[in-house]
């Protein structure tokens, strides 16, 4: 079938050439169209992708217990968090809340109630640091209006399985939304503006989807930094200094960035003056930057509408852009294996920022390109390169795949498991990690030997656990034991059981 098509096609071309030649006119441009479909996109997160494709996309949800706490105007959200048990839903009614909310518990849903367009407002008054901080797993933060904080709107430190959605974040400090050091999360349907660094910043994280957000009037719209398996899709990103960024920041403890899909976004008119804090990495971004990839590997830029960005539509570069930061000998600087698929690009580069203008001038150009690779990578690929004005793509080849549609999400099909793993003997960890400071098996330390405690309590671990929570002075020749009530009942009992089993 294919063979016949090619032969027929060749015959038509030949005949046409003969005909046109005869008429004395220019030959028509003939574009050869590959007849075989391209291979499927593969990524280092392929197993996760395959598993996700089998289920409902982004099925992640914070587990709830039925506990409901309602916070009304004039009350404190933090008081509700303190009172909440894992699994609680905290509903925050419309009103103004002047506080920092910190969630150091698992499975908490912090959910604003929106009535007739009225949000619960977290008001930082230009005084408070961050609006919402969380470290717990399985935290949802949604439906809040956050404004006038000095630091971040929503900041996560190591919580996995997070959901940050439907928030309205306006004029609030450094980052609007900043999950850091977490695995498996969703940032969706947020409206973020007026941020002096990044509106949405995914830092040192794995498996995060940033989808359906509106981000504008900020220095950087959406940033994926030192992270792996991130999907940035269907966001509306406009009037920032730079639209969507994926990069390695040198000097961080997690040193790689890779497997980032930037797909089907509107990246429009990102020409805002750069008002970043001096010294910050984003202070280097030229205004008029659409998509910027610095040192991040395996980035796919696909199907975006990238228009009206006055410096450059898409930039692939190395650390040379980050001239104000110290180098990191442990971070590889090149944006390896860039992939550029079928973006719609118009009107980019018509008024480049001075730094870009200077570089262009050396090439006798005045208009910024649609796409530039400042390194000149030799392992990149692009589809239909003839459609774009490009610089530095001379070594790019045709891509082996034409779509990443087989990747519906980079979130995981199942939540990251809870932290207390079943195969860990908690009692053993507590005995050696805490109790052993005062008790050794056969010898006297600060407290009596474990052997003596075994003789006293034999089959009564509950007795040990109870005593440890509320010790009294027992022995003339030993100091009174400090209470171990910082360990919960279950943990103390596990340690007591382990203690009674010990034989050495």
């Amino acid at each position: 079938m294919n063979k016949i098509a090619i032969i027929v096609g060749a015959a038509v071309v030949l005949a046409g050439g003969y005909y046109l030649g005869k008429m004395g006119q220019q030959p028509a441009t003939v574009i050869k169209v590959g007849s075989e479909s391209k291979a499927a996109f593969t990524s280092t997160g392929a197993e996760e992708v395959a598993a996700a494709a089998a289920g409902v996309v982004r099925s992640l949800a914070t587990p709830t217990s039925g506990e409901l706490i309602v916070v009304k105007d004039g009350e404190s959200i933090q008081d509700a968090v303190v009172a909440a048990s894992p699994g609680a839903v905290i509903k925050v009614m419309p009103g103004t809340y002047k506080e920092t909310v910190y969630i150091d518990k698992d499975n908490i849903t912090l959910s604003g109630v929106i009535e007739q367009g009225k949000y619960p407002v977290l008001e930082g008054e230009g005084l408070r640091n961050d609006a919402v901080l969380y470290s717990g797993n399985g935290v949802t933060v949604e439906n809040l209006y956050i404004t006038h904080y000095k630091g971040n709107g929503v900041m996560g430190q190591a919580g996995n399985n997070f959901i940050i959605r439907n928030n309205y974040i306006v004029d609030t400090g450094v980052y609007g939304i900043f999950p850091q050091l977490g695995k498996n999360g969703i940032v969706s349907h947020n409206i973020v503006s007026g941020i002096e660094d990044a509106g949405i910043y995914v830092g040192m994280s794995d498996n995060v989807d940033v989808v359906f957000n509106q981000v504008f009037d900020s220095v950087a719209g959406i940033e994926i930094e030192n992270s792996r398996h991130a999907l940035v899709e269907s966001n509306f990103v406009y009037n920032n200094t730079g639209g969507i960024l994926a990069f390695i920041t040198p000097g961080l403890p997690i040193k790689t960035c890779g497997d980032v899909l930037i797909r089907n976004n509107f990246v429009v008119d990102n020409n805002h003056d750069n008002f970043a804090i001096p010294g910050s990495l984003v202070s280097n971004i030229p205004h008029g930057t659409g998509v910027l990839v610095m040192a991040c590997d395996d980035v796919v830029v696909e199907g975006n509408i990238i228009t009206g960005n006055n410096s450059v539509g898409i930039t692939f570069t190395d650390f040379s852009l980050a001239g104000n930061a110290a180098n990191d000998p442990d971070s590889e600087p090149n944006p390896n294996r860039p992939r550029i698929l079928n973006n719609i690009m118009q009107d980019n580069g018509k008024d480049p920022a001075p730094a870009v203008r200077a570089v262009l001038a050396a090439m006798l150009e005045t208009t910024g390109p649609d796409i530039v690779d400042t390194v000149g990578m030799d392992d990149g690929c692009i589809l239909n390169p003839e459609r774009f004005r490009t610089i530095g793509l001379g070594k790019y080849t045709d891509c082996e795949f034409s779509t990443t549609a087989n990747v519906a999400s980079y979130t995981l099909p199942e939540p990251v498991p809870a932290r207390s793993m079943e195969d860990v003997d908690k009692g053993r960890l507590v005995y050696y990690g805490v109790c052993a400071g005062c008790h050794a098996y056969g010898s006297r330390m600060i407290g009596p030997p474990t052997q003596i405690i075994q003789a006293l309590y034999m089959d009564n671990p509950e007795g040990i656990a109870e005593y440890a929570a509320n010790p009294v002075k027992k022995r003339e020749d030993y100091p009174q034991m400090p209470p171990q009530s910082h360990l919960d009942d279950e943990t103390r009992l596990a340690a007591a059981r382990f203690m009674l089993k010990l034989t050495q």
Binding site: V82, T100, Y102, D104, N129, D130, L133, S135, N137, K150, G151, N152, G156, Q157, A158, G173, V174, Y175, F178, L181, G182, K183, M204, S205, D206, T249, G251, L252, P253, I254, I277, P278, G279, S280, L281, N324, A325, A326, N327, P329, V416, R419, S420, M421, K426, L429, V430, Y432, G433, V434, A436, G437, C438, A440, M445, S485, H486, L487, D488, Q504
Partner: protein, 408 residues
């Protein structure tokens, strides 16, 4: 009891004399402990680390994150005897050429395994370039010295042992001394029985390094009140301390971005532009050792565990108190950089405009990171027969070489 001044005799002579003295006859009766130090479980003759933090994972196994984040890679697995032998060596001034200082002189257990000085002083009596770092939680460290020039503890200890201004010894001198002390030959044979089957077996230098490393790697501090909070006990911290914790991890103060839990360091090099004591030349830090000019003025981010015990602060002790140290970070980006130095100051050094109250709360929080529950005991008697010297620090010296004397 006869006390010999170590400076008056050679180490060999001292050691022999003292071992021979009636008052020190007990030295040869020292036996090494068969128990692991607290924090370790004996498994097949080796001590394995145990901590509640082993319940938690960490992203990319980097050991950095939030409250319930697992530990970074660590070293353990020494025998109880090797660790205990290391403890004797650590406190024994016989390791220094003139017998005047021990490891513990600059790393005193009662001073957070530091020495209370801005810049340490070794056998030569001259102040060194930098301050002695704490030894707590070395098991988790990947790089050593303020400028990160050593990649292992064994590599690191060659510095102080053999630097002429520190312990001023030589490998040959050290081995000659130890092999000349019967008590040490006996203890090394307990720590390495398989290497001492033959009657003429002698102590090897790698055994000295291994024993010292084994002891230093056993110093674990992960049971502070902060840790109780992290493991889920909300009342472990007071309200002001919790406020301090929130300032600490806020993106305004940004302390936790580099001093990241659970170890309160991300183990990176950072150029932050702290001042040296007046009159000192600018210290280029990691730029030389790492051959990276942009790291000029860069130093390893120190852990903040037990930080309240190790004043003065920064690489050369410029700040006498924690309050002064935290105030540096709100003084403005590059405010203390000497004229003419063009440093690549870290992006997290900015102008957070922290209030006095926030600085006070930060200090409150930093004090919750203190935990000495696994502090090792000091030997009552040393195998060399020499008296311990590390508690003899002259208070006069302390203020002379301390940042307190010349801070503003």
């Amino acid at each position: 009891m006869t006390v010999l001044s170590p400076r008056l005799c050679s180490v060999m002579l001292c050691a022999l004399l003292m071992v021979g003295l009636p008052g020190h006859a007990n030295a040869t009766e020292i036996e090494l402990s068969g128990d692991c130090p607290p924090g370790f479980q004996l498994v097949s003759g080796r001590c394995e680390l145990r901590s509640l933090y082993q319940m938690y994972p960490s992203l990319e196994d980097a050991g950095v994150g939030g409250l319930k984040t697992g530990l970074p890679a660590y070293r353990d697995g020494y025998s109880p005897q090797q660790i205990d032998l290391g403890r004797y060596l650590f406190f024994d001034p016989v390791l220094s050429a003139d017998g005047s200082v021990s490891c513990a002189s600059c790393h005193q257990p009662d001073r957070g395994f530091s020495d209370g000085r801005g810049r340490s002083v070794g056998a030569s009596g001259k102040p060194l370039l930098r301050s002695a770092p704490t030894l707590w939680n070395l098991a988790f460290q990947q790089r050593f010295f303020w400028d990160a020039r050593a990649n292992s503890l064994e590599e690191q200890m060659l510095g102080p042992l053999y630097d002429e201004n520190e312990m001023a010894n030589t490998p040959e001198g050290l081995l000659r001394t130890l092999n000349g002390i019967p008590a040490y030959r006996k203890l090394f044979s307990q720590a390495w029985p398989e290497d001492f089957r033959l009657a003429d077996a002698t102590i090897r230098i790698d055994q000295v390094y291994t024993a010292l490393a084994a002891f230093e790697l056993s110093l674990i501090s992960l049971n502070s009140r902060y840790d109780q909070y992290a493991h889920g006990y909300a009342d472990a911290l007071t309200q002001p301390e919790k406020e301090g914790m929130n300032v600490f991890r806020s993106f305004v103060a940004r302390c936790a971005e580099c001093h990241t839990p659970p170890l309160f360091t991300n183990q990176q090099i950072a150029v932050i532009g702290t001042p040296d004591p007046q009159g000192m030349d600018f210290d280029p830090g990691a730029a030389g050792p790492l051959k990276e000019p942009t790291l000029r003025g860069g130093f390893k981010v120190p852990s903040l565990r037990n930080i309240a015990l190790t004043a003065p602060y920064m690489h050369s002790g410029r700040f006498a108190t924690l309050r002064e140290a935290v105030a540096f970070y709100t003084g403005g980006r590059g405010h203390a950089v000497p004229p003419g130095e063009n440093l690549k100051i870290h992006w997290h050094i900015w102008e957070p405009n922290l209030s006095d109250e926030e600085l006070d709360r930060l200090v409150d929080f930093l004090q919750t990171l203190t935990d000495e529950s696994f502090k090792p005991s000091e030997p009552a008697e040393l195998p060399s027969g020499m008296p311990a010297v590390h508690n003899e620090i002259d208070q006069q010296d302390l203020t002379t070489f301390n940042g307190a004397a010349d801070h503003e």
